[in-house]
């Protein structure tokens, strides 16, 4: 598998304040790569710097050390002068908060990326309608975010990223704030959409079960400073039945191995 993203020796610490000890490293010496079309999950304890890692990859935050190579081209390096958020729409980012625009309806939120990227045509509308159909938001197109349930908002945020088709998608615990049943539904939605169009996905979570259910491979992060504490291929064949993921052969063993690394 050709590497889509290569993270090499990445480190992050926030700038020191005058007269104080330099602040501790949040991420240190992190190296891994993500193959094209791979769904990589990253699991780690809360506050381990998972969001910071994705922010650096998405270029809304700077790295203190190390490099990132995107599709063979060096995109993040320590001497970098300016950030390019989203790397010219090639990196999509589904954040922990849905970040829907409260003054836009569902459909206008979903179309927002296309609108800023040069206008909405019939093809764009058709694509948005297709995605709204795929995640079961039909009938809620004209609703404002505050009128939607938490799960619906997550779906809207997810398809807002899918609608403009970035080759790489970063996901930061996107389903953490919804109830277990809705979460399973959202995970199934995600896997179905991913199986149709194999994107490269980096999916961060603190939930080991979720990391197994979704991933081709799972990385385990240590506590601060975050480093790679373990790497596990997920030997469960696809398509996977997420509702019964616990009962599938191999689940218990991989769960135990990952659990041992998460300390």
């Amino acid at each position: 598998m050709a590497a889509m993203l290569e993270i090499r020796g990445l480190g992050k610490r926030f700038p020191a304040r005058a007269g104080r000890e330099p602040p501790p490293w949040i991420i240190q010496d992190m190296t891994f790569s993500v193959g094209a079309g791979e769904l990589l999950t990253i699991v780690g304890p809360s506050g381990a710097g998972k969001s910071t890692l994705l922010n650096i990859i998405a270029q809304i935050d700077t790295a203190s050390e190390g490099e990132i190579v995107f599709d063979g081209v060096l995109t993040v390096s320590p001497g970098q002068k300016s950030l390019r958020p989203g790397l010219d729409r090639r990196i999509g980012y589904v954040t922990q908060d849905d970040n829907l625009l409260p003054w836009r309806t569902t459909i206008d939120n979903v179309l927002f990326p296309l609108e800023v990227q040069g206008g909405i045509d019939d093809a764009a509308r058709a694509r948005a309608a297709e995605l709204i159909q795929a995640v079961g938001l039909v009938g809620f197109e004209r609703y404002y975010p505050h009128e939607l349930s938490g799960g619906m908002r997550k779906r809207a945020a997810l398809i807002r990223t899918l609608v403009y088709d970035p080759p790489v998608i970063l996901m930061d615990e996107p389903f953490a704030a919804v109830d277990a049943q809705t979460r399973t539904q959202l995970q199934e939605d995600l896997l179905r959409l991913w199986s149709l169009k194999r994107k490269t996905i980096v999916f961060v979570t603190h939930d080991i079960t979720e990391a197994i259910a979704l991933g081709d491979r799972a990385l385990v992060l240590s506590r601060r400073p975050a480093r790679i504490a373990g790497e596990h291929a997920i030997p469960i064949p696809r398509p996977r039945n997420i509702k019964d993921i616990f009962t599938l052969p191999g689940f218990a063993a991989i769960h135990q191995r990952i659990r041992a690394d998460v300390q």
Binding site: I60, R89, I91, L101, P102, V116, Y144, T161
Partner: protein, 258 residues
Amino acid sequence: MRLRVWFDRLVVLLILLAAWQAGSAVFGAYWLSSPWATISRFFVSLSDGELVRHGSYTITEALAGSVIGGVPAVLLPFVLRRQPIIVAILDPFMVGGYGAPKLAFAPLFILWFGIGIESKIALVAAVVFFIVYFSTLSGVRALDTKLVQMAQVVGASERQVGRHIVFPGAVPAIFAGFRIAVPYAIGGAVIAELISSNRGLGYLVQTGAMNFDTTQVFVAILAAALIVHAFIALVDLAERFLLRWRPRGAALIVDHGT
């Protein structure tokens, strides 16, 4: 519930009118006009066109001043959004302008712009500008950076961020500013007319007082209060339409601090 509120309002109104009537009876209608005299004169004045003539003059001043003062007050925080140093440099002067008693400038404006409508518009503009500026500034500052990052990641330019994220986010604060500014705009116009004018509600107050006609003074004040009510209702109507995306009952926090 709603009916109850209206009933209670009626009770408060009657109490106020009774107190007024009592005051008028004690001090004499010569010094303090009675509510009945005021209300009947109000309708007479309304039907003979006198009140409309003066009221519309005051409304014109208030509207023109609100536009001239309000539009730059809304635009400036957006233009300066990426220039925090300029905002910081301007801040003490803006606070000074906000805090200075603008009504004290009325004689100066009359000196500069004459006793015509221009000096009144200038005073209203000066009053409205600072109120709306600080309100808009607080709205722009309360910007949700996560929404901005989202927009940048999906490819929004700086201009698009301003148009699609910053501006809609600041609209509630802009409305709050204008709602606060309405009575100051009408009040500013009336005060400017009081000092020197031959038309307007302030002129009615002035001539009424000069002729010891307290009824006319009260009629003019009543008219000004009703105009303020009407304009606030219009602002509310526009707000309800433009901010229909907001959950009902959402509290609006407006910081008028420095």
